[in-house]
Amino acid sequence: MRLLSLLFAFLLTLSVAPLAADARSDAKKQVEFGIAVSQRGLWREAIYRWERAAQIDPTYAAAHNNLAIAYEHEGELDKARAAYEKALELEPNNTFIKQNYELFKEINDRTTRPDTL
């Protein structure tokens, strides 16, 4: 019985692994396209692509990081913060994401000074 459940788990892993790989591969294509269009200044299109990438593979930190940058560029600072935090949750030791987030916070803090009426 135990052998049977182990075999079932093994088969399940085998069948799910390619699906996950496919999801990452599809998401990566969206991310790459998003990078190409953002470099040409088409930030709305880039947002659409990176949102798609994050939908396809919600564990893809790069998609959330890029999305955060695009939101920042569009002035949607609340969304940018949420996307950076998601990216950091997925890859807490990624120095690029950490650096981007620190720069973002510096700007965001200017808009929310505590000593205003």
Binding site: K28, S38, I69, E72, G75, F96, Q99, T111
Partner: protein, 257 residues
């Protein structure tokens, strides 16, 4: 030996693979910052004047009014009203005298009209809450956004342990920079403005913001008070402007693949 070599090669391959897999692209971005205050209802702005004190070498009222007007002229869409600076200290003194029959500063024992410390500003601050007065000013200048407030620009001296970098050369003539902690006496200035934004239609305060900037020099270094004032104002002007008009902040971020 072969096993160790294989392990080393494997780890090198892993590092190379990680670097190769982390494709990144630096990209310039411009973050638009929305103004803190919605000023769409105003076509004109009146920098009315300030209650200022601290250093006798700088007229904080006149200099701040001039500087803010010139900044707003170039960096704001509102029309800047050119007029004489309002004598706010006199206005505050008069209104207080009529209400309490006493001059500001009398209680503290300071000569009337002399502001040396932050606490000396307090007897005048009621003028900013005088809705009728600001409404009258608003009517006179076609209901603009009114900018006023207080400015304290005062000399300060501080002494203590300061860490600074020092160049040292070893016996081979090689240069090194090492941190050195020394006791120093320093003097400079502190600038503490409070900008108050008043609705010229109603006379009510819309927004108020406090700033603090300071600059310290070596005790033997002399710097004119006015140039220090402009240096400190330069630091906080972007924050002041971001209250009224949208700004774009340029930067660079890293896109990941």
């Amino acid at each position: 030996m072969t096993a160790r070599l294989a392990r080393t090669l494997c780890s090198l391959a892993a590092v190379a693979l990680t670097v190769a897999c982390t494709n990144y692209y630096e990209i310039p971005i411009e973050t638009p910052i929305r103004p803190k205050l919605d000023v769409s209802a105003f076509q004109r702005v009146l920098v009315a004047g300030f209650i200022a004190g601290g250093s006798e070498d700088v007229d904080g009222n006149l200099e701040t009014t001039r500087l803010l007007r010139s900044q707003l002229r170039t960096k704001s869409e509102m029309r800047v009203i050119d007029t004489d600076v309002l004598p706010l200290m006199d206005v505050a003194s008069e209104t207080r005298a009529t209400s309490e029959n006493a001059q500001p500063n009398e209680a503290q024992g300071t000569a009337p009209g002399v502001i040396k410390e932050d606490s000396d500003l307090e007897p005048y601050e009621h003028v900013f809450a005088d809705v009728e007065y600001w409404k009258r000013i608003g009517e006179e200048y076609q209901q603009p956004l009114i900018v006023t407030g207080t400015v304290m620009f005062a000399p300060q001296a501080r002494s203590g342990i300061v860490q600074r970098d020092q160049e040292v050369y070893d016996s081979f003539g090689r240069r090194r920079v090492v941190p050195v902690r020394t006791y120093m006496e320093r003097k400079g200035f502190v600038l503490k403005p409070r900008f108050i934004f008043i609705d010229g239609r109603t006379g009510t305060v819309l927004h108020s913001e406090n700033f603090r900037e300071e600059i310290l020099y070596n005790a033997n270094q002399t710097s004119p008070a006015l140039s220090s004032y402009f240096e400190l104002m330069d630091r906080l002007i972007p924050s002041f402007l971001s209250t009224l008009s949208s700004q774009k902040i340029k930067g660079t971020r890293v896109l990941l693949q």
